[in-house]
């Protein structure tokens, strides 16, 4: 499909009123059935909305975590939700009822911040990784540990291949490591080091998200090129690799150095990459780019500061989670109160969904 045809079909338009939350959120995901949207963030909670009603109904949050909850994944059949926090805890939830049930949890699954979590395609196990630079494997039914293996750097992202029995993990240094499905054996390494830089005395960047396309022939990862410290500037970028060869096939770079990190991405079933980036208030892009094309067929900063995106399973809409938190030095009070920032989730419909 040509770029202009793709744009005509998939240009996103706001649907309804955005969902809001009074605290900042990191990641949003649709349940496999499409009825629920969950989002987790800085206040150790997982927020839930029932999308089957109009407008969507906010449900009681899931509350058993500490610190930040930055990653979550559903079991493929949708019966469970797995979440992980920055204090090293993982939880398994029966999340569909009004009163959610914590099925099991592991209090100290990692030493500190868990940055990545993925569920195997058969739903039997999950993998986690984080700042302790260890990839761990767990039984999805019980939370019992299955394996643990060291990673060269802090693990920022993970994904299971949809068909091969393989797990990939991306780290701070831009290294992507392919593991056997049980995480016991390193199969190969893929080079995404363009997303890392030691700048001054600081390690910057990292592979912030990894995703496969539907048939598993392509892998995409996101972050920023030439990342720097301090203001953490860099060029939002998605890298696409051919899965069979592990070779880089395309760099999808957008915006300027002020548009910061690409935090999240997903392949659309039509074969293009959807990605979002976030930087200082008002900065960051959403872009859709079909591999093989010279440029994005859709790129917009009309809704900046996108931290996460999630395609609805019906393919008709996209949830775009954005951060709303001003920057600035010194005392800034709003109505006498110290404002801590908030989150908004835009539901975007495609022009002519397939």
């Amino acid at each position: 499909m040509q770029a202009n045809a793709l744009q005509q079909q998939f240009e996103p338009k706001p649907l309804g009123t955005p969902l809001t939350y009074e605290r900042q959120l990191c990641q949003a995901r649709h349940s496999p059935c499409g009825r629920f949207l969950v989002a987790s963030g800085y206040d150790a909670t997982i927020q839930r909305w029932d999308l089957s009603q109009e407008p969507p109904v906010k449900l009681p949050p899931l509350t058993a975590h500490n610190g930040w909850v930055q990653c979550q994944a559903f079991a493929p059949a949708g019966e469970r939700l797995f979440t992980a926090d920055s204090w090293g805890k993982i939880c398994c939830w029966q999340y569909t009822e009004s009163e959610p049930r914590l099925e099991w949890s592991v209090e100290s699954a990692h030493d500190g911040w868990i940055r990545a979590l993925a569920v195997s395609p058969d739903g039997q196990s999950l993998a986690t990784g984080g700042n302790d630079a260890v990839v761990r494997h767990w039984s999805a039914d019980s939370g019992q540990p299955l394996s643990a293996a060291p990673h060269p750097g802090k693990v920022f992202s993970m994904a299971f291949h949809p068909r091969d029995k393989a797990l990939v993990s991306g780290d701070l240094t831009g290294l992507i490591r392919q593991w056997s499905a049980d995480s016991k054996t390193v199969v190969r390494e893929i080079d995404a080091r363009v997303l890392y830089q030691r700048h001054n005395n600081q390690e910057c960047g990292g592979v912030r998200q990894i995703v496969f396309d539907a048939d598993g022939s392509q892998l995409a990862c996101v972050g920023q090129k030439s990342p720097e410290g301090g203001f953490a500037t860099g060029l939002p970028c998605a890298l696409v690799f051919d899965w069979s060869s592990g070779k880089l096939t395309q760099e999808m770079q957008v915006g300027t150095k002020e548009d910061g990190f690409a935090y999240d991405a997903q392949f659309h079933p039509a074969g293009f990459v959807m990605a979002t980036s976030c930087a200082f208030p008002g900065r960051g892009h959403v872009w859709f780019w079909k591999p093989g094309e010279p440029q994005a067929f859709y790129q917009s900063n009309t809704i900046p500061n996108g931290r996460s995106l999630s395609l609805h399973p019906d393919g008709k809409s996209l949830a775009l989670l954005v951060s709303l938190s001003a920057n600035g030095n010194g005392r800034q009070l709003v109505n006498g109160q110290y404002d801590g920032g908030s989150a908004r989730i835009h539901i975007l419909g495609f022009s002519k969904p397939a």
Partner: protein
């Protein structure tokens, strides 16, 4: 034919000769400036005899208090990291300070720091000079103030040495109205000034003859000038000579593998270790700088990278000073321009926040294993009496044995308090 060239880059580097010249010039410029009438000479001698020393670790930018000394887990602004218990009962710090936590029984924290500037341009000088009242003069940085108030130790080494990344040189600007003599001798990357060490082609005997010649010139020079001028000249020559005799301070082969491992081989680790060596040698005041502590974006990954680089060598420094009994005489300070905003901006960064932050210190004159002052539950503002940098200057000077309320500089007849007279020492910190 030899053609004079434009100056070469090497000519702009600090050489031993230039160091001597700069120091001598500064001394001449400030000849006659002693501590004023409010500062009794007997007290000065007594202070100098006590051999108090200080090391200031300056984290240029702002260290996030929430990711270091004043964590607020489970609060709206707490961030992702855990707080951990320390060797001082009841005091917790951020998990990024895991090594320092084991030395907390030696440390004193002030968690109620509230300063006036949220910009780099004004904040750096204001903090370093102790935010004195504006009297139309440029006050000295703490290192220069201590160099003036206490002078060199009996080691005779330069009283104010600054270990910093990149280039070195003589940094007269720190001295303000005190004059260049009280500036900092900066060791770029911890290395000695170029040409400091004796040229190996000159034998010790030749050097002796050379010094005899210099002494004769000095005597003739002194005979025609006031004694203060001659003394100043001798002072700076002696400082440089002393440093020249301490080649061992820059000999990296003398660093043990254990110390390399404990302090780390990264820049800040090497520089803090060099700072310890300078203290052991008897330098009165050592400043160690680390740059790029300004995490407006991606603060938490930045802290995970930077705070750990500080934690390891700082903990080793405190442990070593304690083991050697040096904490009884050495004041240790960890200072930034300001703290960082509790609010996390959209770029996952923290901006500048002078309203409520923390300063860590240890050593002579201070209580050990205490946390003084507090912030509110969310860490946004000080809960209780706030303390400005002026309070800290009073505290530090008093810890070094200098009674700031009773002392002033004499700036050509203008009496100037050594610390902001609207402030006073934080009594709960003093031993």
């Amino acid at each position: 034919m030899h053609q004079p060239q434009l100056c070469q880059p090497w000519e702009h580097r600090l050489s031993r000769r230039r160091l001597l010249g700069t120091l001598a010039g500064g001394a001449l410029a400030t000849q006659g400036e002693a501590l004023g009438p409010l500062f009794a000479p007997a007290m000065a001698e007594e202070l100098r005899a006590e051999e108090k020393q200080a090391i200031l670790i300056w984290l240029d930018g702002g260290l996030s208090q929430l990711e270091s000394w004043d964590p607020k887990p489970k609060s709206p602004f707490g961030g992702p990291f855990r707080s951990i218990a320390t060797s001082a009962p009841g005091i917790e710090v951020c998990e990024l300070l895991s090594q320092t936590a084991k030395q907390m029984h030696h440390l004193a924290l002030l968690r109620s720091v509230c300063t006036q500037d949220n910009s780099h341009s004004a904040g750096v000088a204001r903090i370093n000079r102790g935010d004195p009242k504006d009297r139309g003069v440029v006050y000295p940085f703490l290192g220069s103030a201590v160099a003036k108030l206490l002078g060199p130790t009996s080691s005779g080494l330069p009283p104010y040495i600054w270990i910093k990344p990149q280039s070195g040189g003589f940094k007269a600007a720190d001295a303000g109205f005190l004059g260049a003599r009280y500036g900092a001798l900066a060791l770029g990357d911890g290395k000695p000034p170029e040409n400091l060490l004796l040229n190996p082609q000159i034998t010790p005997e030749e050097n002796e003859l050379r010094n005899e010649l210099r002494q004769r010139f000095n005597t003739r020079y002194a005979a025609r000038r006031r004694r203060e001028i001659a003394d100043a000249n001798s002072y700076v020559f002696d400082l440089a000579q002393t440093l020249m005799r301490r080649e061992d301070l820059f000999d990296e082969s003398k660093i043990t593998d254990r110390d390399r491992e404990r302090y780390g081989t990264h820049e800040l680790g090497r520089h803090i270790l060099q700072g310890r060596r300078m203290l052991e040698a008897g330098v009165r005041f050592v400043k160690v700088n680390s740059y790029h502590w300004d995490s407006h974006g991606d603060n938490f990954n930045a802290c995970d990278s930077l705070v750990r680089q500080f934690d390891q060598p700082f903990a080793a420094l405190i442990e070593d000073l304690a083991d050697r009994g040096m904490l009884d005489n050495v004041l240790v300070i960890v200072l930034s321009e300001f703290g960082r905003t509790p609010k996390i901006n959209s770029h996952v960064g923290r901006d500048h926040w002078p309203e409520a932050w923390s300063v860590a210190m240890a050593g002579t004159g201070l209580k050990r294993g205490v946390a003084v002052g507090k912030t509110n539950a969310d860490g946004t503002f000080v809960d209780g009496p706030p303390h400005d940098i002026g309070h800290l200057f009073h505290t530090w000077l008093r810890a070094l044995g200098v009674p700031p309320e009773n002392m002033s500089y004499d700036n050509h007849g203008q009496p100037l308090p050594v610390a902001n007279e609207a402030c006073s020492a934080v009594g709960e910190l003093l031993a």
